[in-house]
């Protein structure tokens, strides 16, 4: 769809704002609607949008497969790591009270990192599925 001028221009205009919105949803999830899952999906949707306009090879150059596959595992590890950090600092697994100087700030820190882990894994998985489907179409087309 690279030939369509309107799509290209509008896409280039919108994509930075969509990414900013994804991060807003992630970091503002404590105060308003949103959180890790929604932020991850929006971030993945941004990249998929880019891929729809500029084609799969372009988006694969921008966000390579290795990064996406690392993200899939990294998020789960981050989440589980927060739990282990709670153990290390002398609490129970996934106990955030011990992570900060006082219980409330510890809760805040724990929730933040957990949302981060959720967002990373979700956007990684969504992107990977999109790459796999789109790439499958391409390889069949080549035959």
């Amino acid at each position: 769809m690279r030939r369509f001028l309107v799509l290209r221009v509008v896409g280039k205009l919108l994509i930075p704002f969509m990414l900013v919105f994804a991060f807003y949803v992630l970091f503002h999830g404590d105060f308003g609607p949103g959180g890790g899952f929604q932020a991850g999906v929006i971030a993945a949707a941004v990249v998929i949008f880019y891929g729809l306009i500029f084609g799969l090879p372009a988006v694969r150059r921008m966000v390579p497969d290795a990064i996406v596959e690392t993200m899939v595992g990294l998020g789960v590890l981050l989440y589980a790591g927060v739990g282990v950090a709670g153990l290390v600092f002398g609490g129970n697994y996934l106990d955030y009270f011990v992570l900060g100087s006082d219980p409330v700030s510890g809760q805040h820190r724990g929730i933040f990192w957990i949302e981060m882990g959720v967002a990373i894994t979700v956007s990684g998985v969504m992107l990977k599925i999109f790459y796999m489907f789109a790439g499958r179409g391409r390889s069949l087309e080549g035959e």
Partner: protein, 169 residues
């Protein structure tokens, strides 16, 4: 929404079915906003109307856009579906009335979450507090489910691609 559902059932062109399913998701998201479930509405709009529409369109590109005519009259599945619908409707008769404040679900742990969550976690959005803190194990399980889905897709589709490569040689 009911109109959209009937259109989906009657429509034979799969492309319009995908578009109608996206419309249905957006209507569902507005219903959820009206019910004050903004977090869920956001998820429904982005996943149901956004990403799954893209994935379904990708699948359509692979398998063509016309629904095949059914081989036989599906009377048995219809009967099973009717029985299940009857059982579910019968089950809803025993539920407390909609938005009844004395329903069991509203008096068990909900008052504690609503009153104490801000004090205990410092997070004004109670949904986030419950998801990430009080129900941290459940959310970890959910992330595991997402991870497993991704790993499964990778395992299945990558093997298929390798087989195609082998067949080519």
């Amino acid at each position: 929404m009911a109109v959209t559902v009937f259109a989906i059932v009657l429509q034979r062109n799969l492309f319009s079915v995908v578009v109608l399913a996206g419309i249905y998701s957006f209507l569902m998201a507005t219903v959820l906003v009206a019910l004050d479930a903004v977090d869920v509405a956001m998820t429904e709009a982005s996943v149901g109307a956004g990403i799954s529409t893209v994935l379904l369109l990708g699948a359509l590109y692979l398998c063509g856009g016309e629904e095949a005519k059914p081989m036989a009259r599906p009377w048995l599945p219809l009967a099973v579906a009717a029985v299940i619908i009857g059982a579910l409707v019968y089950g809803t008769l025993g539920l407390p009335a909609f938005s009844d404040p004395s329903a069991p679900i509203h008096v068990h742990v909900v008052p504690r979450y609503l009153n104490e969550a801000l004090k205990e976690t410092g997070v004004p959005n109670v949904v986030t507090a419950v998801l990430a803190s009080y129900r941290g194990y459940d959310t970890l399980g959910e992330v595991m489910v997402v991870f497993t889905a991704g790993a499964g897709v990778i395992a299945l589709l990558r093997r298929a691609r390798k087989r195609v490569d082998e067949a080519r040689q």
